[in-house]
């Protein structure tokens, strides 16, 4: 098992190296000079040259890349072009907001998606099955942007029950500890503020969680259907076991494998979906920061955030692989 884990973890290194080269290369392939964008429509040639020099953009590409890589290995992702902020610190400061949103969305997806899939499979062909799969299909096809705006319109503007965006109501003074506000408000023992953060989290989590929820529900259903048609299930039924026991103990346990895979893959979807969700709901995470940085050709931020996201994504995938090995002994002995 240990050698399996070590092998998996070492495999991460070439992946991250490739990502860093690709990001670095593609960014420089896109036309548009950061110095010009920084200085705006009114830039003079002298200023452009000076800024290019300060940003190191006048050096050969391989030199720029090696500097970037060397610093990145030491945990320094450089300074933002536009605002001169240290990127590493800013990534770490903004990431909790994205994590909080992604976790909440995943929670929505799991809590609704898995039971819906299981029930659909058990009651195959029922009204519930047809209904939930129709909802799942709609969920997969719905653009997050549109869904987000519709949720705001319905819950915030019409019903006035949930806020339109942001993490806290404007004007609230709160000093975060971990910047995971749900956790921080509890740590500070501020229950009303805790509920306020939940209320702010509800709509973006629902918007972001819808697609994973739909995918998880469909995958759970088909995986369960496959298992339910197995002989040992029939045997279990024949033994006179209770239906609930057959479903949870015999069927679901064997259906987990493809579900775990799909859940792991949703992490990537959540991170990319977070970019749109954060824009619609004014959520101060790294997704929105990344979009702004791309428009501003803020190379250090784009490189840093992409590398960071790649790290998270690869990390989750490795964890899923390890989890896989734990769930299915055949894998770790291969």
């Amino acid at each position: 098992m240990l050698s399996y884990i070590v092998k998996r973890v070492l495999g991460v290194i070439p992946v991250l190296l490739c990502v860093s080269i690709l990001v670095f290369g593609f960014l420089r392939l896109i036309p548009g000079d950061p110095a010009l964008i920084m200085l705006g429509e009114r830039a003079t040639q002298e200023n452009i040259n000076r800024v290019r020099e300060q940003l190191g953009l006048n050096k050969p590409l391989y030199e720029q890349y090696l500097t970037f890589l060397g610093n990145a290995l030491r945990g320094d992702l450089g300074r933002s072009v536009l605002r001169q902020e240290p990127v590493t610190q800013e990534v770490l400061r903004r990431f909790p907001a994205t994590i909080e949103l992604a976790l909440a969305a995943m929670l929505v997806a799991l809590v609704i998606g898995i039971p819906a899939g299981v029930i659909s499979a058990v009651r195959r062909g029922s009204v519930f099955d047809a209904g939930s799969m129709l909802i799942a299909l709609t969920g997969v096809s719905m653009p997050i942007f549109w869904l987000g705006l519709m949720l705001i319109y319905f819950f915030s503007v019409t019903l006035h029950v949930l806020p339109t965006g942001g993490r806290l109501t404007a004007g609230t003074q709160f000093t975060p500890i971990t910047n995971l506000l749900v956790l921080d408000t509890l740590l500070r023992g501020d229950i009303p503020l805790f509920f306020q953060t939940l209320r702010h989290l509800a709509l973006p989590a629902l918007a972001l969680g819808t697609i994973p929820m739909a995918i998880i529900a469909r995958m759970t259903r088909s995986s369960m259907l496959e298992v339910l048609s197995q002989d040992y299930i029939r045997t279990a039924h024949a033994k006179g076991l209770k239906e609930s026991l057959v479903v949870t103990r015999h069927a679901l346990r064997n259906a987990w494998l493809p579900i775990i895979t799909v859940v792991g893959l949703q992490v990537g979807r959540l991170l990319s979906g977070a970019i749109l969700t954060e824009t619609v709901f004014s959520w101060p995470g790294i997704g929105r920061w990344l979009v702004d940085a791309i428009y501003a050709r803020d190379y250090p931020i784009v490189q840093g955030v992409t590398l960071f996201i790649a790290l998270i994504f690869v990390g989750v995938n490795v964890s899923v692989d390890i989890l896989y090995a734990l769930v299915d002994p055949r894998i770790r002995f291969e």
């Binding site: 001169q84 915030s156 503007v157 006035h160 993490r167 509920f195």
Partner: protein, 588 residues
């Protein structure tokens, strides 16, 4: 089925829990955490043995949110389109930072209400020498900075030094950190010896004298810009390269906090010098809501009191809704179509006139500006004092345009051109982003192309991302393109000279399609060194007439950017330059 029921009940309970904590919006919940840390150190001397025992006593006073939200009229919440770049006025150019700076800082002079007329701010009055080179400003007395320091002539001198002197330690440190003093360079001709400002001296604590190399027509308008406002010199020195995060001026509101990507909070400054114009609201919150639709929804939900950046299609809905108040900012922006003079065909004025006459501006403006635009025939918007109201626009006439093209030697119209010596299809470039002067560039470009097609001009529409677009335009690589200008200082010079004044060698600049016209340039240069508005205005009117007659560009429309407010907001005065003060704003 039982499982389903339990899921439904869990979801319902969660929903009820969440909505139970719903309080009517807008709500402002204040939470003040006061931490008093006492660290007495007990020294116990015991038989020559010293034991140091630090005792930490944390007294935390928590005022939790009250059930009833504090009175809504305490705080004015404005929804901004994005994140401020920096809150140090000397090194910024963007309007989002500018909006915050306008509340925190003040300069010698400012723009009056909704005009570009210059009125006193920290200077009580001023005089000019006969040759227009020496300006003497008498300062208001008893003015305090937010850090308690006194505002006086010395502070003015130190701020000018920060802007102008490259050897000033803070200036130097900013440059090394990658910042630029862009507006100072643009408006005052550069730094050190290059600057038009040769000397700034404190005659006495309440008098400042500024000496110029040569008279500068737009001098006062330049000084009124949002960037030439004063820092507390001690605070600036302390902040150094971190000046972006700690603005300290003399304005009616002082800076409290900047939460990245969320909001900036300001609070009323109790010791503000100009009591009648002191802040009317206790707090200002400027929230960053990047999505235009989300921002309008936040206004509809009552979470913010005012906003900028509306989709043109939303303007009519806001106008007709009694919950909202629509305010149009007087136009300071003009959208145009520029010719590249490296295109052989465009060097013929008849061809340019044909392009101008083929466009039917009025329906385009009606369709794509959401009711906030107005067709125009010149560069300056009507709010500027150099505007020439006597100019007659080229009449829309597709047949006449066709005939002009035939006269110029293109009886079959134009669909290919010779650009930089190579024959290419005629590309018409439109911007990929919405700007105040072109809210819907693609739709407008399509309409322009359709108009031209009726006169036998066939263009291929082209675009690329904004950064590259600007890059190509700067290098003169676009044959025919849309762009616009938003004024900086409300002076005609700022619209006209930037584009049409030639350098000493009269070289055509690639920036605006290699256009060069000495006649226009001479008129503008003459106006730029006169000090009196009544002498300058006729020259700018003359220049506009020349620019029109030579069809140097086609000016399409001015736009009045729309701002939306909740119906209970009063006192917001829109300024054409965007220099707007929140001290007059009241939420009832």
């Amino acid at each position: 089925m039982k499982r389903l029921l339990s899921i439904i009940s869990i979801v319902t309970i969660l929903a009820m829990l969440l909505s139970a904590c719903a309080t009517p919006t807008p709500q402002v919940v204040e939470k003040v955490v006061e931490k008093v840390v006492e660290k007495p150190v007990e020294k116990i001397v015991e038989k020559e043995k010293i034991v140091e025992k630090p005792v930490e006593k944390v007294v935390e006073k928590v005022i939790t949110p009250t059930a009833v939200p504090p009175k809504a009229q305490d705080t004015f919440i404005f929804g901004a389109q994005g994140e401020p770049v920096c809150l140090d006025p000397a090194i910024i150019t963007d309007g989002i930072s500018g909006r915050i700076i306008n509340q925190v800082f003040e300069g010698l002079v400012k723009f009056d209400k909704d005009t570009t007329n210059v009125v006193p701010a920290l200077a009580e009055k001023w005089t000019t020498s006969a040759d227009g080179k020496v300006w003497t400003f008498n300062l208001h007395k008893g003015v305090k900075f937010h850090d308690g320091a006194d505002f006086n002539a010395d502070a003015v001198v130190k701020n000018f030094d920060y802007w102008k002197n490259t050897k000033n330690p803070t200036h130097d440190a900013q440059i090394k950190a990658g910042q630029t003093f862009e507006y100072f360079e643009l408006q005052f001709g550069g730094f050190d010896g290059d600057s038009i400002i040769t000397d700034v001296k404190a005659v006495d604590p309440a008098t400042v004298q500024i000496t110029l190399k040569e008279p500068q027509g737009p001098f006062l308008n330049n000084l009124a810009m949002f960037v030439f406002v004063f820092w507390s010199p001690t605070a600036l020195e302390k902040a150094g390269v971190n000046s972006c995060k700690t603005p300290i001026g003399t304005g009616p509101y002082k800076f409290v906090e900047w939460k990245a990507n969320e909001q900036v909070t300001l609070t009323a400054f109790a010791d503000y010098w100009d009591k009648p114009n002191a802040a009317k609201m206790k707090n200002i919150v400027i929230r960053n809501i990047p999505n235009n639709s989300s921002r309008l929804l936040a206004l509809s939900a009552g979470e913010i009191h005012g906003m900028e950046g509306m989709e043109p299609r939303d303007v009519a809905a806001v106008k007709g809704n009694p919950k909202f108040k629509l305010i149009l900012r007087p136009a300071n922006t003009t959208g145009y179509v520029a010719f590249n003079y490296k295109v052989k065909e465009f060097t013929d004025p008849k061809v340019r006139q044909a392009f101008a006459q083929a466009i039917n501006k009025a329906p385009i403006v009606t369709s794509f500006y959401g009711g906030t635009g107005a067709p125009t025939n010149q560069f300056q918007p009507p709010a500027l004092w150099g505007y020439n109201k006597d100019i007659k626009d080229w009449a829309y006439d597709a047949a006449a345009a066709k005939k002009l093209l035939a006269d110029a030697g293109y009886p079959n119209g134009i669909s290919k051109v010779t650009f930089d010596g190579k024959e290419t299809p005629l590309e018409f470039w439109y911007m990929p982003v919405s700007r105040p002067y072109y809210p819907n560039p693609k739709d407008i470009a399509t309409a322009l192309a359709a108009d031209w097609a009726k006169a036998g001009i066939n263009v291929t529409l082209q675009t690329i991302d904004w950064a590259t677009y600007l890059d190509k335009r700067k290098n003169g690589q676009l044959p025919l393109y849309m762009l616009g200008w938003t004024g900086d200082n409300g002076d005609p010079d700022n619209f006209l000279c930037y584009f049409f004044c030639l350098d000493a060698k009269d070289t055509p600049k690639p920036t605006e399609g290699f256009f060069a016209d000495k006649e226009i340039s001479d008129v503008l240069k003459k106006a730029a060194v006169l000090v009196k508005q009544e002498e300058r205005a006729p020259l700018y009117r003359q220049a506009e007439q020349l620019i029109h007659d030579k069809v140097t560009r086609i000016f399409i429309a001015n736009n009045q950017p729309p701002l939306a407010f909740a119906a209970n907001v009063d006192g917001y005065i829109p300024n054409p330059t965007g220099t707007e003060y929140f001290n007059t704003v009241v939420v009832k």
